[in-house]
Symmetry: C2
Amino acid sequence: MRSMPASGTHPESKLNAGSGTPSKNLMAERRRRKRLNDRLSMLRSTVPKISKMDRTATLGDTIDYVKELTKRIKTVEEEMGTTPEELNLLKNFSSGGNEETPTRSSTKLCANIENQGGGDTKIEICCSTNPGALIATVTALDVLGLEIEQCVVSCFSDFAMQASCSQAEGKRQVISTDEIKQALLRSAGYGARCL
Amino acid sequence: MRSMPASGTHPESKLNAGSGTPSKNLMAERRRRKRLNDRLSMLRSTVPKISKMDRTATLGDTIDYVKELTKRIKTVEEEMGTTPEELNLLKNFSSGGNEETPTRSSTKLCANIENQGGGDTKIEICCSTNPGALIATVTALDVLGLEIEQCVVSCFSDFAMQASCSQAEGKRQVISTDEIKQALLRSAGYGARCL
DNA sequence: GATTACACGTGATGC
DNA sequence: TGCATCACGTGTAAT
């Protein structure tokens, strides 16, 4: 406890005792110091791991904490980025979606969508086998609000999938077949791996 | 630029000019100030958003940044908890996994797993249609390191899926059929909805 | 020219 | 005892 460091001489120090504009600057410095100490206290209360009440220690702990947080953020967001392609999908959707298909040159990738009327849609997609293609496609359909009624999947030399879907209630209705195609190509071509 | 604040009088200040043990403490204070400034610089280089080079501003920005980071961590981790059921699955796995199957009373739910040898496994699962059952099952298989080679899905009155899987390389090998069954029942019965 | 921010040296205080 | 940390008042450069 350092407790009230004995401000010693009250305002008006030795040299500028009688002048009219004596401690203008002094007061400013006092305020500055106070602000700084307040910030320091806030820091101490914000950062959980405070080893000592030292100024330097506080700053050091803060640095460590920030680094640790950014690290965690990074890893977690990486997992988030690869695991559910939904976010990327949604983003690509809201931002127009027809920039261009990222056709991942030199790997097979094609899709065929047929609107059967009555909210029913027939899906065919085929691409070179990549881990996660199936899960990405299923997720993409889910995001699009297309419920799979029946599907057949083969993942040997290529990944091939045929599915009959119905438009889920309450989801974004009236999606064009082309939108569906773009989304599926995107997700399947992405080749993102889960976990 | 505040640039080399003119240290003014070199070591040996006005009062302790001739004494032998004069500025012992002085040096210490110098070192202290240096350490503190170093920490401050490290902070400035660690925190991306530095509005001004002020000491107080630096601390303030740091506080804001830490708060923002913790906030993002919190929200992201919350999303992680709900969106991919993988984490729940993995947790259930590492913590024994055989507490009891949460058999979601009054809804159909059954699975059958056959080990075909050579890392090949035949999966059959059937449950009352619930949104997300397919995606949950596919995700679960992915987490288990089982790559789907072929599968057939029907989602009309019930959700039914048959699949031939092969053990993915590098993933946790030698999973018992019972473990697979438990995991699948869990995920399918969960009925968790993505997004 | 007034205000702001900093570094400096020093005395005080707790380990 | 010395060693570390702190608050203080002041000089001074930059805005």
